[in-house]
């Protein structure tokens, strides 16, 4: 039995928001303004996307679904890089390709082999799953990007040593790349370790609230957890592999002036 909250019910969540603001004021956190903006954005963005998805479900053509996903990828690459502490030149294309690879690979496996969506572009499957995968790929890519710059800076002497000894740039910077991908994966692995024990994921809770049998919800959650791990790994690996080249000149010299 699905409980559909009415507009009045939804407005009751204002109480939650009031508590957060009150705490912020009392503790001197100075985040009230950000909280107000974030709340308004959450409401507007989610309603906006809710109506957009509703429209997409109705259209039901492969090119509209693919186009929507491509648009989302383009924005995700930009947003992922926007999360970096310090922007690095030339990262956009590696980030876009990384996110696209992670999203296409994972979505194809999940919708094609696991859920056997028919037709393959079924918007009610493709858009929510693709969006979720994209979001995780973006987060993984953003973590990898930040960590890659940090590692390249910290390992500058080591990387130059390998270059001096006649190794190519991929070999010289392989540890930095490994650390970047590892850092991107750690939050996902930590979540997978504790899921079901420490917390119930939002989607599983949402499905159960929507009337889905708990075991079925658990099955979906398993698919989602592995899906997240897969897209984060593919996205961060592809990104780091492509982004590595941006730290070197065509003559395989470390652009130390970009990381000094």
């Amino acid at each position: 039995m699905i409980i559909d909250p009415g507009w009045g019910d939804l407005s009751m969540t204002v109480a939650l928001f009031a508590v957060v603001v009150a705490l912020s004021v009392r503790e001197g956190l100075s985040v009230e303004k950000d909280l107000v903006v974030a709340t308004i954005r959450t409401v507007v963005q989610l309603f906006f996307i809710g109506y957009i998805i509703k429209a997409l479900f109705a259209v039901n053509t492969w090119y509209v679904v693919t186009g929507a996903l491509l648009l989302m990828m383009t924005y995700a690459a930009k947003a992922g890089l926007g999360r970096m502490k310090r922007p690095f030149p030339g990262f956009y294309l590696p980030m876009w390709v990384g996110i696209a690879s992670g999203t296409v690979f994972t979505t194809a496996v999940v919708t094609g082999a696991v859920l056997k969506a028919d037709p393959w572009y079924r918007p009610d499957v493709m858009i929510p799953l693709g969006g979720m995968i994209l979001g995780n790929a973006m987060t993984g890519g953003a973590i990898a990007a930040d960590r890659l710059v940090t590692e390249m800076r910290a390992r500058k002497n080591e990387i130059e040593l390998w270059l001096i000894l006649g190794r190519d740039y991929r070999f010289a910077a392989r540890e930095a790349k490994r650390e970047a991908v590892r850092a991107a994966l750690i939050p996902t692995i930590n979540t997978m370790m504790t899921v079901g024990l420490v917390h119930l994921p939002g989607i599983m809770v949402g499905q159960m609230l929507g009337g889905v049998e708990p075991v079925v919800a658990a099955k979906y959650q398993i698919i989602i957890m592995l899906m997240v791990a897969s897209c984060v790994t593919v996205a961060s690996s592809v990104f780091a592999t492509l982004a590595l080249k941006r730290f070197f000149t065509p003559r395989q010299q470390l652009k130390h002036w970009l990381i000094d």
Partner: protein, 236 residues
């Protein structure tokens, strides 16, 4: 405008001038690109230099004069903004950079050791580890005690690390060895021994040495040529 000028201090063996240069720099311009930490930094303008095969070339000059930059250009770790560098008559740009760096090997002034023991660090440039006997023989020649072989490389003194780095470069079997202040952290007795070994090595293998030193009293006497780099400043 700041740039470095190069002076020939003295040439000990005139006959070297007739030998084919192993490295030649023609009209090199070099500017360090601007970074977050520093502004654009011009270093060389129109620099030309020939390094003869099997010779010992000592580069002298004060700190910040561009000696290290010169070695980085020679080892292809920096790209000149103008001009060309030739190795055995061929433009650097014709070579695969890793292959070129195995032929022209540089020992940086600050020795870099990676995790692991000295054995591992000595063999970093090799595809498979060298036998201990060979490593111990090289260590003996450079005054490093045998027990250091199994010791954590990071725990070595700076002087020991510097010598270990030179051995690591020699094991790659380069044609030219670039040394950046290799005796800066070594005591006088060890410095003398180090210089003798390098001269011996140069003669044995026909190894060309380009040796940066701010103090030529140690290496000057064995040099075939000594050149000085001075910085001139001209605000106009």
């Amino acid at each position: 405008m700041i740039c470095a000028i190069l002076k020939e201090s003295f040439s000990c063996k005139v006959e070297f001038m007739c030998i084919k240069p192993v490295i030649e720099l023609r009209n090199i311009d070099f500017v360090y690109p601007p970074s977050l930490q520093a502004k654009e930094k011009p270093v060389f303008k129109g620099l030309s230099l020939k390094v003869e095969q099997g010779s010992i070339l000592v580069v002298n000059g004060p700190s910040g004069s561009g000696k290290t930059t010169l070695l980085r250009l020679l080892s292809s770790m920096e790209e000149p903004g103008g001009g060309s560098i030739y190795f055995e008559g061929r433009d650097y740009r014709e070579f695969d950079p890793p292959a070129l760096r195995r032929k022209i090997s540089m020992t940086p002034q600050i020795p870099v050791m990676l995790e692991g023991d000295t054995r591992r660090n000595l063999c970093l440039g090799l595809n498979k580890p060298a036998p201990d006997e060979a490593l111990l023989s090289w260590m003996g020649r450079f005054g490093l005690e045998p027990e250091l072989l199994g010791k954590r490389a990071e725990s070595l003194s700076v002087g020991q690390k510097q010598r270990a780095c030179v051995i690591r470069n020699i094991l790659v079997d380069p044609v030219v060895l670039l040394l950046d202040e290799p005796t800066a952290s070594i005591d006088p007795a060890s410095s003398e021994r180090f210089v003798k070994q390098m001269v011996r090595l140069s003669k044995e293998r026909g190894l060309t040495l380009v040796w940066n030193s701010h103090d030529i009293s140690v290496v000057g006497p064995v040099a075939d040529r000594v050149i000085s780099i001075d910085r001139i400043c001209d605000d106009n």
